[in-house]
Amino acid sequence: MSSRDELLKAVAENQPMNFPLPEIEFLDSECIYLAETFINVLTSIGGAVVLIENLMEIETYILEKFKKSDRIVTTIPAIKWMAELIPATSIPPHALSNVDFAIIDTHCAVAENGAVWVTEKGIVNRALPFICQHLAVVVNARDIVSNMHSAYNLIGTDDYGYGTFISGPSKTADIEQSLVLGAHGPRSMTIFLIM
């Protein structure tokens, strides 16, 4: 018998009686102050929020924070004149190792934990939101949902290859529980929030 069949047989012999799945819809809660909660939570975990009215304002931020020699990339065609557009055709992830600032897009953000949901579609290259030194995500205030249950309702049966919730800059507290931002991923995370 193969290990697979032997394992499955042992499980079948030892598993207890069926127990029905619970209803979890009751956990959906309405939150009126979505944007406010989102901002409060994200800033409390080391993220930054910049309120904007249109995408043009991102350029001001770039000019203020970055040098001309910095490599600034984006996956949003609408702002390709202010940053290098990552092509949809696959490029090796290693080619992104010198990216200083990446600006990506999302269609879902979560108020309760300050997370944004991004899939391969929005980031083009899976490595991009991790390998860049600084990360920014454009969020439309109307795309903020209250909690993770609402987020998964929205995600539904989407057939992505890869997707991730990102909540703040990468961080660690492994040395004596001292919080340090910028572990292996981005050192900062900025949300451009379109109100």
């Binding site: 598993q15 979890i24 997370a115 899976r126 991790f130 998964y152 992505y160 001292s178 340090v180 910028g182």
Partner: protein, 463 residues
């Protein structure tokens, strides 16, 4: 793995020699526990959430055979390779075969307690494969040639000065620099080179969704993603109990996991791997290693509901004061003490006794595992199987005789009081652990029985 010739009490004794460190360890973990409390108090529906998590896991245990096959079918349809391993040995061999078949002899790992349980690092090293653990805490214990002492905070037993010294020896940082920001930056630079160079990455699995065939890996550092997205081959090791039925159930578990672990609302990254990226491959290894046996133990199967948050460790008065290494097992603390005896009852016979049975672990468990009840039940199984220490057996048989005879009980009580009053050295000596770090109160003149006999008339007058 760690000093297997010593039991929990002896190893805890060693940890306790450095009183300042024990105090620091104790207070730091309690602080993490308090952060957990603050986070869960913000959610009015917390108890409903725990109940939902517990019930979903009950459903998983009752249908595990079906869900495992459903997961396999869907993962394969997504282009992911699925392997099955009955035990640690088979798991390790599969990893090695995968690497050798691609001519790879270097691998970067993110946190996986399963590979600790399987002793994968040593196995790969013995077979000429270089392994680098990329989680900062695990990287540090790897440099120190140790094992993690906590499933979420791997090097919580180390002081920053010791970490600074390790970095000085291995990475050439200036001697005496133990600033966490500086050390983290050093590890970041060092490991970035590793991520860019390694062709194979191994990660653990937090949740595997039967309905979609995807699996989720949670990190704060981003190391699992850095490894997986830059490697040609991504190996993900999971125990059979990591399965959850549907994608929407992630909503429940991702809300429970990190709030329980560190008090964060969610980990920085909760990455869903469904299909390999073009030109790369994903291999999942589904491991039993004693889990199906635990599934068949009615009293202990609930331990398989564990989502590895570590809340039971942070709250445990014994863990906080004895340190993770005193449990001489891959997973320490209360949950580790009910998982380990399943794998080897004799070797881990001491662990269910490393608890006060106060029940705090059960109260904080996000999936409502009856941890302290299981510890109590393991004690009975262990004693029945003859694995209790000889001294404990002898003491218990004397106690049984005394407690079952009223005459003997009275005589023994009197003798005890007289001894403690007139010749305290007979009991207050270094051989009696009850006197370790504590003084007993002054001996009463008489027993309660004697007091009651003398005073019962007064009581009737009061009425």
């Amino acid at each position: 793995m760690i000093a297997p010739d010593k039991d929990h009490a002896a190893l805890a004794n060693e940890f306790n020699k450095d009183e300042q460190r024990v105090d620091w360890h104790d207070e730091t973990l309690w602080w993490v526990r308090q952060k957990r409390d603050n986070a869960v108090k913000k959610l009015p529906e917390w108890e409903e959430l725990r109940e939902a998590g517990s019930q979903i896991k009950n459903n998983v245990l009752g249908n595990l055979n079906y869900y495992l096959q459903q997961f396999e079918t869907n993962a394969k349809a997504n282009g992911v390779h699925v392997h099955w391993a009955l035990d640690a040995k088979e798991h390790n061999e599969i990893v090695l075969d995968l690497l050798l078949s691609k001519g790879i002899n270097k691998i970067v790992k993110s946190k996986s307690m399963l590979t600790e349980e399987c002793n994968l690092n040593d196995y790969l090293l013995d077979n000429g494969v270089n392994v680098i653990d990329s989680d900062l805490g695990e990287f540090i214990v790897q440099l120190a040639n140790e094992h993690p002492s906590h499933i979420v905070l791997p090097c919580i037993h180390k002081k920053k000065e010791e970490i600074g010294e390790l970095f000085h020896q291995h990475l050439g940082t200036p001697s005496g620099n133990s600033d966490p920001i500086f050390l983290t930056e050093t590890a970041r630079q060092h490991l970035r080179e590793t991520f860019l160079a390694r062709k194979a990455a191994l990660t653990g699995v937090n949740f595997a969704v039967a309905e979609t065939g995807e699996f989720v890996v949670c990190t704060n550092e981003g190391n699992a993603d850095m490894g997986a997205h830059l490697a040609d081959i991504h190996i993900a090791s999971m125990g059979i109990e990591k399965i959850i039925p549907e994608r929407k159930h992630l909503g429940v578990f991702l809300r429970l996991l990190t709030r329980s672990a560190t008090g964060q609302p969610i980990t920085t990254y909760s990455s869903h791997f469904k299909k390999p990226r073009s030109g790369a491959s994903i291999h999942i290894i589904i491991v039993d290693n004693g889990r199906s046996k635990q599934l068949g133990r009615e009293d202990f199967r609930n331990s398989l509901k564990c989502i590895r948050c570590g809340a039971c460790m942070n709250t445990c008065p014994v863990y906080r004061r004895s340190g993770g290494h005193s449990y001489h097992s891959a997973i320490a603390g209360p949950i580790g003490s009910i998982l380990a005896p399943n794998l080897d009852m004799e070797k881990h016979a001491d662990l269910p006794f490393a608890s006060t049975l106060c029940g705090s672990c059960t109260n904080v468990c996000p999936v409502k595992i009856d941890i302290h009840d299981q510890l109590y039940k393991w004690r009975q199984v262990i004693v029945k199987n003859g694995h209790a220490p000889l001294a404990k057996n002898a003491a218990l048989s004397v106690m049984t005789k005394i407690l079952s005879s009223p005459v003997l009980y009275k005589v023994a009580g009197k003798l005890g009081r007289l001894t403690m009053k007139w010749v305290p050295l007979v009991v207050n000596n270094r051989f009696n652990p009850w006197y370790k770090q504590r003084e007993l109160p002054e001996v009463p003149k008489n027993s309660f029985g004697e007091w009651y006999k003398k005073n019962r008339n007064h009581e009737s007058k009061d009425k």
